[in-house]
Amino acid sequence: MSPETVPKLARGMKLREDKTRAQWVVLGPERMFVPDEIALEIIRLLDGTSSLAAIADALAARYSAPREEILADITTLLDDLAAKGVVTA
């Protein structure tokens, strides 16, 4: 993925609250992922219009953290989720 990529949850993937286990899960065809806190925050920012660059901007502002570092981190994370079929470009 590049900074211009607009990532979104892949078709069939749904973010749902799992009240029984007090956690959030991404449900997909015969599979589920329990995102960690960071992944969950990023998945919530996947609105289908924001690019990776825009998401990095938002997170950098929110945490007063270095933007380039955040962009690199979320690119790695989203590449990994894309390989698992959870998100698509």
Binding site: R11, K14, T20, R21, A82, T88
Partner: protein, 370 residues
């Protein structure tokens, strides 16, 4: 405290227009008149969600043979369950599929029998079925629903696995399940005609590994390996009564869809018992839960909590004892049975005993130890 289950398999009916010789239904099929009604199923779905299930698989038989399938999909979705329809695709038209999508269906899993139409129709025992499935797959993607293709593989179609992968891509499936036949029930009766050769298995494994790399990010391939060439058993159902429960068409609450083949059980009846009571308190769910029930060599084995002793149905089918170590394990005293079965299939023909109501297959003999 027993951890709650993640998924419910609802086998809505045993009716099915196809006659696949490896069908996972029990050999004694439930008659339509014995099936649970709409209200009971709907209550079960709510109970499943309350218990902690996140996903539901609406299966059968052919689930769309139920006239109330639309109501059942709506009930499952309203209960908050991720709703998956496991179908042969031969009974649904576009209008009905769109209605299912509107009712909240999340995902469709479509079975194929082969990539080559004549062979596919022969294996499914249903003329014209393959062409209908291809048309149905297009309807699924047109309806905006995610599609998984499920290919059960065996000696008589395994050589066309690359073509099945191409078909999944062509049809726009996001996921492909390549599942080697599991030999219980109907499949056990057809084992000699279905068992792949070692060369076929090795080629298939290599094909899957290469395709995963080539189509990374585009097609997810799940691969179920065959027990008969294994040295360690599969973690069947993730452990008995640990992650999964099933309800049969007549309402039996089961730790796995094949468990009714096991003798000496009184499986809870969903008409009179809640899923929670069945899951947490019933003798049937507790009997093989955890590691306490395990015989040698499972007892104390470092893998006891990885594979949970393997599959109870396979242990019973091959040794006559549901509490035995799964013979797929090389440490099982019965492991040699698998090699004998492979030898027998080497000399066997290609004829099937098709899955049909009222046509109980001859059980495959339990082979004596050499």
């Amino acid at each position: 405290m027993t951890a709650p289950p993640l998924a419910l398999l609802a086998e809505l009916t045993h009716r099915c227009p196809l006659r696949c010789p490896y069908c996972s239904n029990p050999t004694a099929l439930t008659r339509p008149g014995e099936e649970l009604d709409t209200a009971t199923w709907s209550r079960i779905f709510v109970e499943a969600a309350d218990l902690g299930c996140l996903q539901i698989h609406l299966s059968g038989g052919e689930p769309t043979a139920r006239r109330d399938i639309l109501d059942l999909v709506r009930a499952a979705s309203t209960a908050g369950l991720y709703t998956n329809l496991i179908t042969s695709g031969v009974l649904l038209n576009g209008t009905r599929l769109d209605a299912l999508a509107e009712a909240g269906l999340d995902h469709v899993q479509l079975s194929i029998q082969d990539a080559e139409p004549t062979s596919a129709d022969r294996i499914g025992g249903y003329r014209g079925g393959h062409a209908k499935k291809l048309a149905f797959a297009h309807l699924v993607t047109e309806a905006g629903l995610p599609l998984t293709l499920n290919a059960v593989v065996h000696r008589q179609n395994l050589d066309r696995l690359p073509a099945m992968i191409d078909l999944a891509l062509e049809l726009g499936a996001g996921r492909l399940e390549v599942a080697h036949v599991q030999y219980y029930g109907w499949a056990l009766a057809n084992r000699d005609a279905l068992m792949p050769t070692r060369a076929q298995l090795d080629a298939a494994t290599a094909t899957v590994e290469a395709a995963r790399t080539t189509h990374r990010g585009r097609l997810v391939i799940d691969y179920v390996v065959p027990d008969y060439y294994a040295t360690r058993p599969k973690s069947c159902m993730g452990g008995w009564g640990q992650r999964f429960l099933a309800v049969s068409p007549a309402g039996r609450i089961l730790p796995c869809h094949a468990a009714e083949s096991l003798p000496g059980f009184d499986f809870p009846d969903a008409r009179t018992t809640t899923l929670r009571a069945a899951w947490e308190e019933s003798e049937a769910f507790n009997r093989f839960r955890g590691t306490g029930w395990m015989p040698e060599p499972c007892q104390g084995c470092a893998r006891a909590e990885q594979d949970w002793g393997g599959c109870r149905c396979q242990a019973f089918a091959l040794t006559g004892d549901a509490a035995a170590t799964d013979p797929a394990c090389a440490l099982s005293p019965h492991h040699a049975l698998l090699a004998l079965a492979l030898e027998a299939s080497d000399r066997a023909g290609e004829g099937f005993t098709y899955r049909e109501p009222g046509r109980l297959p001859q059980p495959a003999p339990v082979l004596p130890l050499a």
